[in-house]
């Protein structure tokens, strides 16, 4: 009964009614009924009115969700592919969106059948459809592997104007396409360098958007800075935190600021970090203090400067600041044993306020290491020893090691303190660094949830075994465009040109 009225409505003289019928049809998830809907759908896909055709295109994707086999058997996928050549840009955009959605569940079939001819049709439609259609088309383009650098450059030239679009999602999708195709362009060409320069301003402008948009942009900029730090090297000031930024924006900006810090701007960065070490959010402060310590370790010349910044911070007597700092100072001492020694005395004065396990552990290490300079080292360690069983395993181990060190330096005083010794394990890092293959995969997903989580989609999407891993295109393709979609990650990544950050230049290039 209901079916009959749908079939009738699909032939109504009013295109609005025809389209509404098609749209509603797709929402009926009852197998028996869907068979009857094939004929009306077929007609609507060829309807004279573009509004009906565009709705029918989406309906194919809906039907595929209900009964994939039927959609394939009835030849609807071919009809969708034909719609890519439709004269109306909205129809093209919806057809692309539907095909992309369907191909997510068929990763290895080249559903869209992208080739230079229909790529051109997509590029034409790009200029004429709405902002949403542009996003569908750009996302689709980012999955295409151009056969050579000329084709890649041609596509880049047509995509670059979209960087000026007011819609930030269009901008991010355009950035995704450009970041991928950059891999294929010759590194010394003028075009390559011009493109790198063109990418910076739109990324910075994204930070004037609404907070959620800023957040997505920042998470993606974080990836871009890791992959191609040269793009935003000069723009560190943009990431200075504003007082009323939401906390999630502040944390991201801080992370990126740290990654962009270099010898040239370290004094500015330290001043900025010091400012934020007194902000009232524990996570943020800890990150800022940690960043100061990392700067000291990375850039030897700035170690003294960092040391004095840290001393200033100790004076604030803010409990969690002091605790975080002790951990950081311990790390500095491990690298440069003769800098910042003036700090030791001040640290010992603050022992009572230490309750964080990391801070206690760090303090114990310092006492053990500099036992000869601390007169009452044995008393200090003894006070820690009193609460031995309440401490975490980590702290216990450190304490034992420190006692042994003390024993070796001052045997008579330490006799009672000696117990069996263990090796102490490594501390924990406070920021994430990606394996190159994971980073490349995330670049292929700019703008998506994966880029915000900083995890590949198979880490959080159910049924992930059917999701194909994306990877960046390779220079001078040894496989042709069709194959790489289906390829595994192993073979293709061997030849990928890697951007190797120069040591000592950028702080963020701390790859252990």
């Amino acid at each position: 009964m209901a079916v009959n009225s749908f079939i009738k409505d699909c032939e109504d003289p009013n295109p609005l009614i025809r389209a509404l019928a098609v749209r509603t049809m797709g929402c009926i998830r009852v197998d028996k009924i869907t068979e009857y809907l094939c004929e009306p759908l077929r007609k609507c896909l060829k309807d004279e009115d573009p509004y009906v055709r565009k709705t029918a295109a989406v309906c194919v994707a809906k039907l595929h969700d209900i009964n994939a086999q039927m959609v394939e058997d009835q030849g609807f996928l071919d009809s969708l592919r034909d719609l890519i050549a439709d004269s109306n840009p909205m129809v093209v955009a919806n057809a692309v969106a539907a095909l992309s959605e369907i191909s997510e569940s068929h990763p290895n079939s080249n559903l869209l059948d992208l080739n230079p001819q229909n790529i051109n049709k997509l590029l034409t439609a790009l200029n004429e459809c709405t902002e949403w259609g542009q996003i569908f088309i750009l996302d689709c383009l980012s999955n295409y592997n151009p056969k050579d650098d000329r084709e890649a450059q041609n596509i880049c030239e047509q995509v670059t104007p979209q960087l000026s679009h007011a819609n930030s999602a269009v901008v991010l999708s355009a950035v995704k396409v450009l970041m991928k195709f950059l891999e294929l362009l010759p590194k010394d060409s003028d075009y390559y360098n011009m493109l790198l320069k063109k990418l910076a301003p739109p990324l910075v402008t994204l930070l004037s958007g609404e907070p959620e948009v800023q957040y997505v942009a920042l998470r993606n900029i974080n990836l871009i800075v890791q992959k191609r730090p040269e793009i935003l090297k000069q723009e560190i000031k943009v990431f200075f935190v504003k007082y009323n930024d939401p906390i999630y924006v502040k944390l991201e900006k801080l992370d990126i600021m740290i990654r962009l810090a270099s010898q040239a701007n370290i004094t500015q960065v330290l001043a900025e970090l010091k400012e934020h070490a007194t902000v009232v959010n524990v996570d943020f402060v800890q990150k800022a203090v940690w960043a100061i310590g990392r700067s000291a370790i990375k850039m030897e010349q700035s170690a003294t400067c960092c040391g004095s910044t840290l001393l200033d911070l100790i004076q604030t007597k803010v409990n969690y600041v002091v605790q975080e700092m002790i951990v950081v100072i311990r790390d500095i001492f491990r690298k440069y044993s003769n800098k910042c020694e003036s700090v030791i005395a001040t640290l010992c004065e603050n022992l009572d306020s230490l309750d964080e396990p990391d801070a206690r552990e760090a303090m114990i290490w310092i006492v053990g290491e500099y036992a000869e300079r601390i007169d009452n080292a044995d008393e200090l360690l003894e006070s820690f020893l009193e609460g031995f069983h309440d401490e975490s395993t980590q702290v216990q181990l450190t304490l034992l090691t420190a006692i042994v060190k003390l024993f070796l330096k001052k045997p008579p005083e330490t006799q009672e303190l000696v117990q069996q010794s263990c090796l102490r394990s490594h501390g924990s890092l406070k920021t994430e660094f990606f394996e190159p293959t994971v980073l490349d995969e995330l670049i292929c997903h700019i703008g998506s949830l994966a880029s915000v989580y900083h995890k590949p989609s198979n880490a959080f999407v159910e049924g992930s075994h059917v999701i194909h891993r994306k990877h960046l295109p390779i220079h001078h393709g040894s496989t042709d465009a069709g194959d790489s979609l289906a390829g595994t990650t192993t073979a293709t990544n061997l030849e990928q040109p890697q951007v190797i950050p120069s040591q000592g230049d950028l702080l963020g290039s701390l790859l252990n």
Binding site: R23, G26, E104, N127, W132, V204, E212, D283, L449, E462
Partner: protein
């Protein structure tokens, strides 16, 4: 790639209305959203993207409503947030005010709009002017012939209908520049940038072609007009409304477009500037703990004498345990706003080149507060009409329509404060 379902929730997290687009995420999952939000807020780890098991929530807040999209796939996050904000824009155009009452009073329209705005998770038509042509407050639109989908929806020009007519053809151009400033505690300028927008109010008949000419440095260089008397502006980054032909701009910096009807934002631009901050603040905040805090603020107008800043408001942070305020101002008035922990010094009219002073005195309790307080910066609000910092100029606005009418463009410039903050020591 897209959202699975969209919910509009009240301030407590209860769904008011929702639309299930894809059917792959159970609608009941929304129950997890509010508890998750509250928990993350308590931990100080709030984020716009929250996840519970396999379900991801992308959310934004507008007055007393939450708009939440759910998905179980690797959706395009920036698309979803842009879409949610666009949805709010459409609802605001329809209902003027958008809050819980507006949704409750207009369920039918909201449902119809949710149906039209997005299909199977793909955003479709989101232009509110066009939507208003066929989704209206009147009932039963399915009467044959009564309403059709405007062809505009699927046109290449999907933002302007055909057949618009005005007796008097005019265009109003507003160039609004916002100045963002961040000054360090020791007075050095950390960040200084201008974010400008050009807003148009278009009352033109037919389908006119418009071309906007600015004194854009890159354009001048391309056309050989640079140097000498021609003052130009170097725009670092420009963003356009979708009606502008982006490829033409990319090619030769021509800004050409067929405008939507009524008001819209044509473009926005950004440029860093080394110009002197328009309003400079020097402050001395002396805190004598257990007794009093004395604040002295000097405001200097560092812009040309002929211009006047209106509605100047300088907000100076005050410790939260301060009391008994006393003020002395050389001009304007000062008010203590305890719920924001600030003193607001308002000056109605602030001419360029002038310098004014305010002194404030607060008492502090004899018992000092335990917790550490943040140090909020001094904020400044102001508006300077007939003035731009960047020197941008609308050189011309060409209007061409096939019926050949003459239309008048009007231009207005204004500079206002954006994010204007001076840190205190």
């Amino acid at each position: 790639m897209s959202a699975s379902a969209v919910f509009i929730l009240d301030v407590k997290g209860k769904p008011l209305i929702s639309r299930n687009y894809k059917g792959d995420v159970a609608m009941s999952k929304i129950e997890h959203f509010m508890p998750l939000l509250v928990q993350r807020e308590e931990e100080g780890a709030l984020a716009p993207l929250l996840s519970h098991g396999q379900v991801h929530f992308l959310w934004i807040k507008h007055s007393n409503l939450y708009l939440v999209a759910t998905t179980a796939k690797n959706a395009n996050a920036s698309l979803v947030y842009s879409f949610l904000y666009k949805t709010i824009e459409v609802f605001c155009e329809y209902f003027k005010e958008l809050e819980e009452e507006s949704i409750r009073d207009n369920f039918v329209i909201v449902y119809e709009l949710l149906d039209e705005l997005m299909d199977f998770g793909f955003p479709q038509t989101t232009d509110s002017k066009i939507l208003q042509e066929y989704i209206t407050q009147q009932s039963n639109k399915l009467e044959t012939g009564k309403s059709r989908v405007p062809p505009t929806v699927t046109n290449a020009v999907s933002w302007r209908s055909e057949g618009i007519k005005y007796k008097k053809n005019e265009v109003f151009i507003d160039v609004i520049e916002s100045v963002n400033l961040l000054v360090n505690a020791n007075g050095s300028v950390l960040l200084s940038e201008i974010v400008g927008t050009i807003k148009l109010k278009v009352f033109l008949s037919g389908m006119p072609e418009l071309r906007l000419g600015l004194n854009d440095r890159v354009l001048f260089e391309l056309t050989g007009l640079s140097g000498g008397k021609n003052k130009s502006v170097e725009l670092e980054d420009v963003k356009f409304h979708q009606c502008v032909r982006l490829s033409r701009f990319d090619n030769d910096r021509t800004i050409s477009f067929i405008p939507p009807d009524g008001d819209f934002e044509l473009m926005s631009y950004r440029l860093s500037t080394q110009v002197k901050p328009l309003i400079w603040i020097e402050s001395v905040i002396e805190k004598f703990s257990h007794s009093r805090v004395e604040i002295m603020v000097k405001a200097k107008g560092q812009f040309k004498k002929q211009s006047v800043a209106n509605g100047v408001e300088i907000s100076v942070p005050v410790p939260s345990d301060a009391d008994s305020p006393r003020f002395k101002t050389s001009v304007g008035s000062a008010k203590y706003v305890p719920e924001r922990n600030v003193v607001i010094w308002s000056i109605k009219s602030f001419p360029g080149g002038k310098e004014y002073l305010m002194r404030a005195h607060f008492g502090l309790p004899s018992v000092e507060k335990e917790e550490v307080e943040g140090r909020p910066p001094i904020g400044v609000k102001f508006e300077i009409p007939y003035f731009t910092v960047s020197g941008i100029q609308v050189r011309y606005m060409k209007i061409i329509e096939k019926s050949g009418y003459q239309a008048l463009p009007w231009v207005r410039y204004i500079t206002q404060s954006g994010d204007y903050q001076l840190r205190t020591s």
